[in-house]
Amino acid sequence: MPSSSRPAVTEPRTDGAPAAGPATAAESSEPRHVKRGGTIWSRRPTAVRRAILLVGLLVLWQAYITLRDVSPLVFAAPLDVAEALVDGIRDGRLIDASVVTLRVLGIGMLIGMAVAAILTTLATWTRIGQDILVLLTSMLNPLPAIAILPLAILWFGLNQTALVFVIANAVTWPIAINVSMGFRTVPATIMMVGRNLGLRGVRMVRDVLAPAALPHTITGLKTGWAFGWRTIIAAELVFGVAGSGGGLGFFINDARFFLRIPEVFAGLVTIALIGIALESVFNLIERRTVIKWGMKSVEAQD
């Protein structure tokens, strides 16, 4: 598998990356037991193999619809979905819906990050702060954030504030857990060097702990955004706000109400594509920072 390993869909290449960069990352994702020069299949480049599988799945899907004469009111054919996708992008409805969803997610994440930063800083600072953090994360992290939507609607009304609240709640705890884990696993030597330099409190957190905990922080952000993304789609589906100003979950719901099944699928595809895109952004950040700096091994990247 020499120079053939091109970046696959989910692994965009980082331009001008060092030799230990993405090329090796793609190679290392090969299963170990696959021998070099194995079957015809395993000798194809990753991208080609995945593309063939994708096309195969699409053909099977289309064949199922065509051959079994499935009612278009129940299941949409891939060609109809592609058409709905193009239409939705062209008339701007899909774009608008995506922007609405991403904006709410973004605000929720910012709030979640701020709360997590404050909590973890307090936790490293004081004993009581740590107890509060442990108590809160152990209580609230296992709780699926969508479960508090009914309460959020009651407190904030049927508006985006309720959504932002739910997203912030989904995002805060995974970030807080990971960051505090990062803080706690900072090597004692580095801490002592910091202390010898006379650092304490916020400066200790900012100059020593935060950079040392960066791998955990990025993992926390990745987990947090993944939680937030799933939660916001679910929340929008439940929310049922109609007309203009709805996000992707609403887009799907609205299409379902009017039996535009290809649009339902187009909404799902959009959600998946945005998910893949954001995931790759985080992978890219990891490669450009913690992996490049040798703080995290390439294999450890999800």
Binding site: G38, G240, V241, G243, D254, R256, L259, R260
Partner: protein, 336 residues
């Protein structure tokens, strides 16, 4: 290269193909009919779905009196209450519900999208009111930027709101962003507790809200004359294969309608019992006999709704005649 195509690989490929074939075959296997057509007395499952409110009084009376259970002793009859016509439509498309009921909106949206269903019987004509909560907006204009609840964005209430917005505000979509999908009982509470500015609803919720201090802003009869609110619809295939079931159902609906017209007190008692509030029989009688509430099995106003829905892009085509929308038992009547 040839060495890689050993028997083991071939077996793997074969297993994969078999699995795929099974998956494909398994996905569409459940299109058997729920009710048998032949035999002396029809058997099978019959699930009838309705929504909250007195707009489904005939179905509630039939449920309470076990009308269909008596007429079709071998059928397994079940009644289901769902929150919106769209939910009932989904259930019918999934073949879980054989007989659905709901407002003109979801029926026409489904008909236009190609659902093979028609109206077996209309149930009633009701003036649907837009209620404004205590101290809330006093005119349609003031609802801009606020929330109005209704069962779904394709419900008859949503069509009425758009027609009102077109006539009063000059733009049918002026209040689209105000629409919140919510079942009537939840919306009643939300309106009373001030969570919502408005609720475009149906009897008896509008009467209960009025009692709680809400105010009527407009009624659907102002925009669509006296129109059918709910009707009972069935998919054509099921209808044609189950003539006896359909006869029993239609007769049951007509008998219940006659009872509501001739013995409202008794009918109200049955509806109250079916709604789980036996004590409120007097209230139900008052609601079911109020002005703007009539029980009538002739469809009325379907074409008027379809024309408006086409105008604002919610339907592609207007049916040529109301008779295209109904089964033979209703044709030749005085519908519209």
């Amino acid at each position: 290269m040839t060495s890689s195509w050993t028997g083991r690989h071939a077996a793997r490929v074969a297993a994969l193909l078999t699995a795929l074939a099974l998956a494909v075959a398994g996905c569409g296997g459940d299109d058997e009919e729920a009710g048998g057509g032949g035999g002396d007395s029809p058997s099978g499952n019959l699930t009838i779905a309705y929504q909250p409110g007195i707009g489904y009084a005939q179905l509630l009376i039939m449920r309470e009196q076990k009308t269909l259970e008596k007429a079709l002793p071998n059928m397994k009859i079940a009644y289901k209450e769902l929150a919106s016509g769209a939910a009932i439509r989904d259930g019918m498309l999934a073949n879980e519900i054989q007989v659905g009921s709901g407002g003109v909106g979801p029926f026409l949206v489904g008909y236009d999208a190609g659902v093979d269903w028609k109206v077996l019987s209309a149930l009633n004509r009701m003036d649907l009111w837009l209620m404004s909560g205590k101290g809330g907006p006093k005119s349609l204009e003031e609802f801009k930027g606020k929330k109005i609840a209704m069962p779904a964005p394709d419900s008859i209430q949503a069509i009425v709101l758009r027609k009102a917005a077109q006539e009063e505000l000059g733009d049918p979509k002026a209040l689209d962003s105000a629409i919140v999908a919510m079942p009537h009982p939840d919306a009643l509470q939300a309106l009373t507790s001030g969570q919502l500015a408005g609720h475009l609803t149906s009897p008896p919720f509008q009467f209960q809200e009025e009692q709680n201090g809400a105010e009527k802003i407009l009624g659907s009869f102002d925009y669509f004359d006296e129109h059918t609110f709910n009707s009972v619809f069935v998919r054509e295939e099921y209808h044609d294969d189950n003539a006896e079931v359909m006869d029993a159902l239609y007769k049951g609906i007509q008998d219940a309608t006659t009872m509501i017209q001739d013995q409202p007190a008794q009918a109200a008692k049955l509806v109250a019992t079916a709604s789980g509030t036996e004590a409120a029989a007097k209230d139900f009688e008052e609601w079911m006999t109020r002005e703007g509430v009539t029980y009538n099995t002739e469809p009325q106003g379907f074409i008027a709704f379809a024309e408006f829905m086409k105008e604002i892009g919610l339907m592609k085509e207007v049916p040529e005649s109301w008779e295209d929308l109904v089964f033979d038992n209703l044709k030749g009547g005085s519908g519209s």
